[in-house]
Structures are given as structure tokens and as C-alpha cells.
């Protein structure tokens, strides 16, 4: 049996002078990260607490009926959030309706070798630049260029399909549907970038296995690659939904801020964040409290989306 000399043994003992400096930085780094991590949790608790404490008068006055009431009357101090909740959810839903097929399609296109790399890289970069455009710019573009451009098309839809309730009003220049389309463009980069990363990270063996069995490219993509990347794709959609629900500036500019529920998508509407952006400046008293109540609802809504996303992603990963 061999044993270490005394000198060798000493180097193994932790107080050895050579390592004490390294150990100190290790320790400082450890505590620094602990403090920062706890700090972030504290900020979240702080925000929730302040929202809640200011919203309490409104919660006490209106209770859960707030969520179902359509009145927003600062003169009589009666408030309800239903039109905003409706507008928030519907605008996000319409945006996803367009952004999911388009975004997932582009992600697949950019992850397969349909195009030579020289063309692919600039396109992928351009897509990511879409995410860098400030939302107020999207809003201006929507007001001055996009909505005037698509208005004739919407008018045609209204003429031809006016009997369908959702197309039943003459398209307004500020309206839910057009605003949702701009929203769709805004959330596209999120879906594309994350879905594409997922598709690229699928092991090449799966692709070869499918081709090796005589699958066509279409069959390989739809039956093997997309199912294999589904958790990532769903994750990207949920992140995009989170962004759509909370998006403020562009919607405040485009959605029309009408405090009414109209079954037609071509009519003006409102969203929670647009309402808050429009009213926080002159709000006080119970109105301010009601705005905080709305903010709380929005927070819970996005929280629910995130929890749902974790749940769904977890489920699909189990299947894999």
C-alpha cells in the first residue's frame, strides 16, 4: 500500500495557502448570486404587493363583478373591466391565429436547408430585427400605412361576408382586427426565433432516420420533426402570447379605445394595457384603484399563460 508524504497530504488540506484566494472569490461569488436571486424574488413580491394594496378599494367596492361589468364611468365612480378583458384576450387570440402558422412555417423553412446558407443567414437576422422595432413605431406604421392599406380589403370582406357576425360592421380606422394583425407581426419574431432554434437542435439522426425509411421531406417535417420539436414550438407560442397580452403602446394607438363590447372584429375595442396607458395620467381615487385592479387582472392573466406553458411543455417532454 502506498501513502502520501506529509507534504503531499498538506496540499490536499483546504487551508493550503495557495488556494485560499481562489476559495475566497468562490465564496464571494456564491453569496453574490444568492443575494441577487433573492433580490429578484423580492422585487416580484414588492410589485404584487403594491398592485394589490392600491387595488384593494376597487376590489372591495366591485368584487369579482368587476370582471363582468362593462361600465367605466369616472363621473359616477363605477368601473368594470369586461370590455378590456374581452379585448385583451380576443386581440391576442387573433394575433396568434395569424402568427402561429406563419411563424412556425417560417421557422421550419429557415431550419431546413431549402435555401443556401448565404441567403438564409441574412433572412434569419432580418426576422430577429423585427423584434427590435419599438412598439410605438409599429403603432405609427399601423395608423399611417398598414390600416389604410388593408382597409379596402376589410371593406370587401364586410360587403361579401357581412352576415358573419364578426365581420358585421363597416371597418373602422381604429379597430380590433387591424390592431391584432399588427400585434401578430410584433410577436412573429418570438415564435420564429425560438421555434427555429428548437428545430435546429433536433438531432440530425432523426431526420436521417425518417428519410432512410422512405419518408418525403414533407412527411419528415410534419410527422417527425415538428412532433419532436413540439415542446419548443409551444413554448415559443406561449411566450408570444405573453407578449401579446401585455403589449401596450401599439394597441393603445390602434385599437380605438372604445369601452364597449362589439361582436364585430372591425369595430373599435379596448384592452387592459391600452386603458391603463390612456387613463393613468388623470386618474385618482377609486378610478386609480380600478386601474390597479385591471393591472392585477392582466398580471394574473399572463401568469396563467406562463404556468400553462410550463405545464404543456412539461407534458410534451414526458412523451418524448
Amino acid at each position: 500500500m502506498t501513502s502520501l508524504t506529509t507534504a503531499q497530504q498538506e496540499t490536499l488540506i483546504e487551508s493550503s495557502s495557495k488556494f485560499s484566494g481562489v476559495r475566497l472569490t468562490d465564496r464571494i461569488f456564491y453569496w453574490l448570486t444568492v443575494i441577487l436571486a433573492i433580490g429578484i424574488g423580492l422585487v416580484l413580491i414588492w410589485i404584487t404587493y403594491s398592485l394589490l394594496s392600491i387595488a384593494i378599494p376597487a376590489i372591495a367596492s366591485f368584487g369579482l363583478g368587476f370582471l363582468a361589468s362593462s361600465t367605466w364611468n369616472p363621473v359616477q365612480d363605477v368601473y368594470g373591466a369586461f370590455p378590456q378583458i374581452y379585448g385583451t384576450i380576443l386581440s391576442s387570440f387573433i394575433a396568434l391565429l395569424f402568427a402561429i402558422p406563419l411563424g412556425v412555417g417560417v421557422a421550419i423553412f429557415l431550419s431546413e436547408n431549402f435555401l443556401p446558407r448565404k441567403i438564409l443567414t441574412p433572412i434569419a437576422f432580418t426576422v430577429e430585427l423585427l423584434a427590435a422595432i419599438p412598439s410605438v413605431v409599429y403603432g405609427m406604421w399601423g395608423i399611417f400605412i398598414f390600416i389604410p392599406a388593408i382597409l379596402p380589403l376589410l371593406k370587401w370582406v364586410n360587403n361579401a361576408f357581412g352576415w358573419v357576425p364578426i365581420f358585421s360592421t363597416s371597418p373602422s380606422t381604429r379597430q380590433l382586427f387591424a390592431a391584432s394583425l399588427v400585434l401578430a407581426i410584433m410577436i412573429l419574431p418570438t415564435i420564429i426565433a425560438i421555434s427555429r432554434d428548437t428545430m435546429i437542435s433536433i438531432p440530425p439522426q432523426l431526420r436521417q432516420g425518417a428519410y432512410g425509411l422512405g419518408a418525403t421531406r414533407w412527411e419528415t417535417i410534419t410527422k417527425v420533426l415538428v412532433p419532436a420539436g413540439l415542446s419548443g414550438i409551444i413554448g415559443s407560442i406561449m411566450l408570444a402570447l405573453g407578449r401579446a397580452l401585455g403589449e401596450t403602446m401599439a394597441l393603445a394607438m390602434l385599437v380605438g379605445n372604445s369601452n364597449r363590447i362589439n361582436i364585430s372584429w372591425f369595430a373599435p375595442a379596448s384592452t387592459i394595457s391600452a386603458l391603463i396607458a390612456n387613463q393613468f395620467g388623470e386618474a385618482s381615487g377609486l378610478q386609480k384603484s380600478a386601474l390597479f385592479y385591471e393591472a392585477l387582472v392582466l398580471m394574473l392573466l399572463t401568469l396563467a399563460v406562463n404556468v400553462l406553458a410550463e405545464f404543456i411543455v412539461g407534458r410534451f417532454q414526458q412523451v418524448e
Binding site: 436521417q208 425509411l213 419518408a215 412532433p227
Partner: protein, 276 residues
């Protein structure tokens, strides 16, 4: 032909005492861009036999294998010169549909690659994309029996293919390949990630499968080649003009001849473990 003397034996080595040839490889060179990976290979694959490709890494044996089902098409810049015929049809004829080729020439990969689907669906997938209209349950059972996996998985067909052990996964991939009823099965080092017991099971399986299929197997394991193959092709790599290495066929013969009385010195050196 090139001036390199070591490529000369190729022309003769395509001659086999077999009449029923499935795949003919005539003076095939394979390029990745401007890089020549495989040079001037002549090689015939006889029907219902097991042919092993052996040789050191980088000698182009996997590259050649992947030409037989046109899987190299997936690699940008890959190009084949010369002629590969499958039952008399030029595989690289522009009119030939690579998807159709892969339905007749199946493949098992080095790393078991079951789809992230159930065991049942792993097998049904290939059959479905090939338009199989028969009894799917029956096909799944027959394929799993064919790959000697049925008894181990018959009670958990709905579980994920990824829940199986490495050896089971590889046999699932073999079941998946035979489910589409190909005529040829290409195996690219199918046992390199398996333990010795799983390896023996796959080898037993190869012996059974050759009643029905023609099998080409790439292997680094020379005992494996001598155990499973009727014919063995030895490939080697050599530095070319620009210093880049290309692979070529050294010798192709009955397996016992390759291992006991090879005609080329480099084959002798390789099979006796003196290099490689």
C-alpha cells in the same frame, strides 16, 4: 484510371462467383465539394448475402454505403461519379426518385435513432409513409418478431421508443427498417454503441434476416465481419495529390479469404491487427 497503383486491384475485385447481383458499383468516386472522399470503387453486392465493409476510419466505407440509398443527397455538395445500379437501374439517373430508392433500400444507423414516439408508432410510421394498407397490428408484431424484440416489448407497445435500452432501441430500428419490406438493408456500424450481449443478438438477427434481405454492414469490428458476412470488402485511405486523404477499395472477396488468405499485403496487415 488513376496512376495510383494501389487502386488497380479494384477492377478485378468486383468479380464474384455469384450470378444474382443486386447492386453494382462501377468505377464510383464520391466527392464532398472538391474533396474526393472515395476513389474508383468497383463492387458488386450479391442477393441474399451479407457483405461487410471494413477498414480504418476515414476510408469512405460509410460514405459509399450512404450512396446506395441516396442518403448522401442530404449533404450539400455531395456528388457521385461513376455508376451505381440497383437491379439494373442507374440510381443516380435524374429520373430516379430518391424517396422511392429509400423505400427499397432500408437503413439502420450507427446510433439507434428511434423517433420520440411510441414503440408501435415507430414501426407504423415507415409503413404509413409507404402507403401500407394492411393490418397495422399484424405488421408491427411481425416486424418486432423479425427483430427478436417482440417478447420484450409486447406488453408496452404504447411506451416511448426512447424508454428502451440501447440494444433494444437498435433492434427497434431494425424492426422499423424491415417493416417497410425493403430488398436491401444498409447497416452503418449498427453495434458500435452496444454491449457484447446486445451485439450478439443483433448478429444472430443478421443471420436470420439474410434469408429475406440483402445486407450491407459497415463495421469496425473484424470479428463481427468474420462472424456475419459472406463477403468482405476491405477499404483503406491514402493521401492524395493535395495531401487530403481519399478512400479506396483494396480487396473484396469471400470473408474467409479476406481473413485467411488475403491477396493484398495491406489487407493482411489490417486483419491481423498490424495497423488501423
Amino acid at each position: 484510371m488513376t496512376t495510383n497503383p494501389s487502386t488497380q486491384p479494384n477492377a478485378r475485385s468486383s468479380m464474384l462467383p455469384e450470378s444474382d447481383v443486386v447492386i453494382q458499383t462501377e468505377n464510383v468516386s464520391i466527392y464532398y465539394g472538391s474533396f474526393q472522399a472515395v476513389r474508383n470503387v468497383f463492387l458488386d453486392i450479391p442477393k441474399n448475402r451479407v457483405v461487410a465493409f471494413i477498414g480504418p476510419s476515414g476510408c469512405g466505407k460509410s460514405t459509399l454505403l450512404r450512396c446506395y440509398n441516396r442518403l448522401n443527397d442530404l449533404i450539400p455538395g455531395a456528388r457521385v461519379e461513376g455508376k451505381i445500379t440497383y437491379q439494373g437501374v442507374d440510381l443516380y439517373d435524374p429520373k430516379v426518385d430518391p424517396v422511392e430508392v429509400r423505400r427499397r433500400v432500408g437503413m439502420v444507423f450507427q446510433k439507434a435513432n428511434p423517433f420520440p414516439k411510441s414503440i408501435y408508432e415507430n414501426i407504423a410510421f415507415g409503413a404509413r409513409v409507404n402507403g401500407y394498407k394492411g393490418d397495422m397490428d399484424e405488421l408491427v408484431e411481425r416486424s418486432l418478431r423479425g427483430s427478436a424484440l417482440w417478447d420484450e416489448v409486447k406488453d408496452k407497445l404504447k411506451q416511448s421508443g426512447l424508454s428502451l435500452s440501447g440494444g433494444q432501441q437498435q433492434r427497434l430500428c431494425i424492426a422499423r427498417a424491415i417493416a417497410i419490406e425493403p430488398e436491401v438493408i444498409l447497416m452503418d456500424e449498427p453495434c458500435s454503441a452496444l454491449d457484447p450481449i446486445s451485439t450478439l443478438r443483433v448478429e444472430d438477427l443478421i443471420h436470420e434476416l439474410k434469408q429475406q434481405f440483402t445486407i450491407i454492414i459497415v463495421t469496425h469490428n473484424m470479428q463481427q465481419a468474420s462472424r456475419v458476412a459472406d463477403y468482405t470488402a476491405f477499404f483503406n485511405a491514402e493521401a492524395g495529390d493535395g495531401g487530403s486523404r481519399f478512400g479506396y477499395l483494396v480487396e473484396y472477396d469471400r470473408t474467409e479469404n479476406i481473413f485467411n488468405s488475403p491477396k493484398q499485403q495491406s489487407t493482411q496487415d489490417y486483419v491481423s491487427g498490424r495497423f488501423g
